[in-house]
């Protein structure tokens, strides 16, 4: 009984410690962000690494998600004789939910893991320690540029995902199935609101960008400096990042669209 209570206490304490050090890490990022703004070249380099290299997977996934939405939406809507609403269905589901969420999940898998592995290996190879010896702050030099690059890249990738998805839905719905083109776009334009739908989608993608990048950097920075530790940290980035994105999405949707 006592051992059981002790186990609960230890689990609570360790999860609180984890949460606390994660929050402190977030504070540290923000506090030392001035350096990144003074050296934009470092951020640009990381945007190239995080954003440009994720473009292909984001664009291809967005297109296929759009294709599937077009097909599935058509088969469902056609039962109710309202296949003109296909454009609205595709655009709303992409801009509000799928764009930010699927992009964030792919982003965690594509960019998050590489960030964690990179920083974990830097730590394991004692490169971060070497920087400190040379009086270079590894947080300012390595972590902060990556943090801001993730925040910049994520909303852009989500917007591209949504655009390509809508074009994919248009390709399947209008070009292949033959839904009326005018109705497709006009229903979409009547039903999608710039502030309520698109701006809220952008806000979501910024929040997801912060969350995923921060988790990836934190896992890399706090990984045990062994091959096994880095591999565990990489796995945790994907698992925790994806779960956080899905949980945050539920919260944000409830706040924004209720």
């Amino acid at each position: 009984m006592v051992a059981w209570l002790g186990a609960i206490g230890a689990a609570t304490r360790s999860s609180l410690v984890g949460l606390g050090s994660f929050a402190r890490f977030f504070g540290l990022m923000l506090a030392r962000s001035g350096a990144a703004l003074r050296r934009p070249g470092l951020v640009v380099q990381q945007v190239h690494y995080i954003g440009n290299f994720s473009l292909v997977i984001i664009l291809v996934s967005g297109m296929f998600v759009g294709f599937v939405l077009g097909l599935q939406g058509y088969y469902t809507l056609q039962r109710y004789g309202s296949e003109e609403a296909l454009g609205l269905l595709v655009a709303l589901s992409l801009v509000r939910e799928l764009g930010p969420v699927v992009t964030a999940l792919l982003f965690a898998g594509r960019a998050g893991t590489s960030l964690t592995a990179e920083i974990g290996l830097m730590k394991a190879g004692e490169q971060l320690a070497a920087m400190e010896v040379m009086a270079v702050d590894p947080v300012r030099r390595v972590l902060v540029p990556r943090f801001w690059a993730g925040i910049i890249a994520m909303p852009l990738l989500a917007a591209l995902f949504s655009m390509v998805g809508i074009l994919g839905g248009w390709g399947v719905g209008v070009l292949m199935i033959g839904v009326d083109e005018g109705a497709f776009w006009s229903q979409m334009q009547n039903g999608v609101d710039f502030v309520d739908d698109i701006l809220n989608g952008v806000i979501k993608s910024v929040v997801f960008g912060v969350a995923v990048t921060l988790i990836a950097l934190y896992q890399g920075y706090s990984a045990r400096p062994t091959p096994e530790g880095v591999s565990r940290a990489t796995t945790r980035t994907v698992v925790l990042g994806s779960l956080t994105v899905l949980g945050l999405d539920f919260l944000l949707t409830a706040l924004m669209f209720s």
Partner: protein, 159 residues
């Protein structure tokens, strides 16, 4: 890769992302025509607004001339108060009438403006006097059934 090349690729990426946002704003949300030009507002009272929603289009002769900007309720008269934003380049006579119509059988509801014959035109803040409420399908069906029943009852008597 050299710094300049990286800058070019990142610039391309950022421009692409910005284009995607503009595409979403203009092509998906129709921001261009929505905010275009100045508008003047009219109010109209309806006994029943049906499923009318804010931002529903206002059409005259089938052409969109404005949008519904607000819907309220008057608890003295028990009527719905609809505020209409009409684009400034379109003017309507003061005896024009507003109807709540439905596009298609199950489509969205919109307001149809039918111009009258008065010399004067509506100014900002005026009220549309002649209105026709939304058709409620249930009322229509019950009227139809009631009419059928009355017909059935009177038919044997006339024979």
């Amino acid at each position: 890769m050299s710094r300049d090349k990286v800058d070019v690729w990142v610039g391309l990426f950022v421009v692409l992302g910005a284009i995607a946002l503009v595409f979403l704003a203009l092509k998906a949300a129709n921001l261009g025509t929505f905010s275009m030009g100045s508008t003047y507002s009219l109010t109209a009272r309806f006994d029943n607004i049906g499923g009318l929603k804010v931002r529903a289009p206002i059409k005259s002769a089938g052409v969109v001339v404005g949008r519904v900007s607000a819907i309220g309720f008057d608890d003295q008269m028990y009527q719905g108060i609809v505020t209409l934003d009409i684009q400034s380049q379109y003017v309507f006579p003061t005896d024009s009438s507003a109807k709540i119509l439905t596009s298609g059988l199950l489509g969205e509801q919109y307001i149809g403006l039918e111009p009258g014959g008065e010399e004067e035109n509506f100014a900002d803040g005026n009220t549309i006097r002649y209105t026709q409420s939304a058709v409620v399908l249930e009322n229509l069906i019950s009227q139809f059934l009631y009419g059928k029943a009355a017909e059935g009852a009177s038919a044997p008597a006339s024979n």
